[in-house]
């Protein structure tokens, strides 16, 4: 191996791949077979964290950053003047194995610029995965990017070796897509998704009859949307996320605050800030949908097309629905406990467990780790006590903000955006 040459390629092709935020390596169930190398069962592991605080769990690279397309939001676009490089298939295999053996990573996340044609590119990606599985007996995690516009046959083969497949929709609205990626059609994205969804359903059904049915993309599929590149609302983003969750059985939708990399009149200027607070609020909303039993129409609608930057979406919802509170901690059902601001899934579970033994009071809640600075306005422990005393929503919000330090408050004062 020529380490100097590899290092150069790695720098270019890791740099170009980093804007894909997904680094999940969980949700698969590939066991180590025949004393091979690796396993990917259950929870993924973050082996390190970048200085921007993101999990490093996979070797995330492009096979090449040569590309025949010119999508406006992408560093790899044809018209961008950057250094280009390409890995050989065997080089990616060797890197993956050697990193994995040293416990640096959970596996590989391989994407690529499109060279020659979508099929030609996809075929190479599949070859890497196939080699890892069949020649190296590798059972670690493999995430392959599906190249928009590639054939169903290749998508089928990809699923035989990969744990997860993803196509990034990137632009949440069709009009935005026309503007920023005019060479791509919406169907180019949805066709591979549909194929994966159908295969997943087929394999699951077969497994019910024949237990030894081989695996097909056991960690499912995911997608990513760029936030803040085309002037879309939070409602646009979350409604299309919901659509992808339902329509294509997505395991995850990722939201990636647009990082301005190139000057282009269709895009925010290169000096604009990455909308990290907004991205954070979108993730919070996503969690409410997936784990807290909320439906999207409760959080965003015509009258509230954007999330409140000041407070998290659950608190914001609660403030609009004060008639449902206070909730009695000692008697409320789980789904209602989950709707209390400041109270997470774990605390809800602990409360249910602890109240089997005794009636809980404020002291207990504090010890259990409930964020009382937020929760106190929405709960009571006995029929008698009620802290909230029918304060109006605005007042509660003010009190909570006064007594909390949001993680973005200092660097991303919302005051700023008022003057733009």
């Amino acid at each position: 191996m020529n380490f100097e040459r590899i290092k150069e390629k790695l720098n270019i092709l890791a740099d170009a791949a980093k804007y894909d935020v997904s680094c999940a390596s969980s949700g698969s169930n590939r066991k180590n077979t025949n004393k091979g190398l690796g396993n990917s069962t259950g929870m993924g592991i973050c082996h390190s964290y970048t200085e921007d605080g993101r999990c490093v769990s996979l070797l995330k690279i492009l096979l090449t950053n040569h590309c025949i397309y010119d999508c406006a939001y992408c560093v790899t676009r044809k018209s961008n003047d950057v250094k280009r490089a390409a890995f050989k298939i065997q080089e990616v295999v060797d890197l993956t194995i050697n990193f994995y053996r040293r416990n640096y990573i959970e596996g590989l996340f391989l994407s690529s610029g499109i060279f020659k044609s979508p099929d030609h590119t996809m075929e190479r990606l599949v070859q890497v995965a196939k080699k890892l599985r069949l020649e190296e007996n590798f059972n670690g995690y493999i995430h392959l990017k599906s190249i928009p516009g590639c054939s169903d046959e290749l998508m089928y083969e990809a699923g035989l070796y990969a744990d997860r497949l993803s196509v990034n929709i990137e632009v949440p609205t069709i009009s935005g897509l026309k503007l920023l990626a005019p060479e791509k059609k919406h169907e180019d994205f949805t066709k591979p998704m549909l194929k994966v969804k159908n295969e997943l359903i087929r394999y699951n059904n077969e497994r019910k009859i024949i237990k030894s049915t081989p695996k097909y993309a056991p960690a499912g599929q995911s997608t990513q949307m760029i936030v803040g590149a085309t002037g879309e609302t939070d409602k646009d983003i979350m409604y299309s996320a919901t659509y992808y969750y339902k329509q294509f059985h997505m395991k995850r939708v990722y939201y990636s605050g647009y990082v301005p990399v190139i000057q282009d009149e269709r895009l925010p200027s290169v000096t604009s800030q990455v909308p990290m607070l907004r991205e954070n609020r979108l993730y919070q909303t996503d969690w409410l949908l997936r784990f807290y039993g909320f439906s999207i129409t409760e959080i965003l609608d015509k009258n509230h097309p954007n999330l409140d930057p000041d407070v998290d979406p659950k608190l914001s919802w609660a403030l609009r629905n004060l008639h449902l509170f206070p909730v009695d901690i000692n008697t409320a059902e789980k789904h209602m406990l989950l709707r209390i601001p400041g109270l997470g899934v774990k605390s809800a579970h602990k409360i249910i467990q602890a109240r089997k033994y005794r009636k809980l009071n404020w002291e207990h809640l504090k010890k259990l780790g409930v964020a009382l600075n937020r929760a106190q306005y929405f709960i009571r422990c006995t029929a008698k006590d009620q802290v909230r005393k029918d304060l109006p929503a605005e007042r509660i919000k003010g009190l909570i903000l006064q007594n909390s330090t949001g993680k973005f408050r200092s660097n991303f004062s919302t005051q700023l955006s008022l003057f733009n």
Partner: protein, 259 residues
């Protein structure tokens, strides 16, 4: 019943602790404290009795607890590995209450010592995950993947299964520099090994003769990768340090330049 309180002294192993619990129950002792051999101090008003580890007795206690509630058993084991001062006695009292209950309903989070145990167990669990993540193997000339770690708690027994399942086709050794023992996998089974290493292989040490020629090339590639995958405009050092506390940096090759 013995009218004097007894301080039980055991060898410091988990099986030793379970044997102690067995003996305390069987002899209906009034337990004053449970101490590790090498830390034992005799109390003024108590007898001292040394317990000899007996795996079959330990197993009986283990099985008895398992029948009550599996999750609680895990919490007990994890909390024990925290090596917190006085943890044995707290666990002993907890086990006593637990065994006395007809229908055990799971950990009572409203009870102070139960909550304490579950919190300790959680900390140990977090350290287990950290070590599963932060172990960095370096390949030696005799083809053993070697890592040294310095965990806050005694988690080697907890991570052994994970590494055995994952690295089934390579020999490896993970060494705890603080507790001076390691776990070694020889392609068949994992064994505990006592050894005194004369050199700790921090990431900052000069190139050692012990390792393969290419080892440092791969460390170099990894560090490079780590740096290129960072997005500068999103920098958030506070979050970074929260995830990777500084005390672990010296063992992480990607943090070489930062140490």
């Amino acid at each position: 019943m013995n009218s004097f309180a007894t301080t039980l002294v055991y060898d410091g192993s988990f099986n030793g602790f379970l044997t102690t619990v067995f003996i305390a129950f069987e002899e209906k002792l009034h337990v004053a404290d449970i101490q590790k051999e090498y830390q034992a101090q005799s109390g003024l008003f108590s007898n001292t009795e040394t317990v000899f580890t007996d795996n079959s007795k330990a197993e009986r206690v283990w099985n008895g607890l398992k029948k009550k509630n599996y999750n609680t058993l895990t919490s007990i084991y994890f909390a024990f590995l925290s090596e917190n001062e006085g943890i044995e006695f707290i666990l002993y009292c907890f086990i006593k209450t637990m065994m006395a209950q007809q229908n055990f309903k799971g950990i009572d989070y409203g009870d102070a010592s139960a909550l304490h145990i579950s919190q300790l167990a959680k900390k140990v669990g977090r350290e287990k995950h950290r070590m599963e993540a932060f172990v960095r193997f370096q390949l030696t000339k005799d083809q053993i993947y070697f890592a040294n770690i310095e965990p806050d708690f005694n988690v080697l027994p907890l991570i052994s299964k994970h590494f055995k399942n994952r690295y089934a086709d390579q020999e490896w050794l993970i060494y705890d520099t603080k507790r001076k023992y390691g776990i070694y996998y020889d392609l068949h089974k994992v064994e505990m090994v006592d050894l005194e290493l004369n050199e700790i292989h921090f990431n900052r040490t000069r190139k050692s003769e012990v390792f393969e020629e290419n080892e440092y090339q791969y460390q170099n590639l990894w560090t490079n990768y780590f740096n290129s995958t960072n997005i500068k405009s999103r920098i958030n050092k506070k979050l970074h340090q929260q995830h990777v506390p500084k005390r672990y940096w010296k063992y992480l090759s990607e943090k070489k330049d930062a140490v």
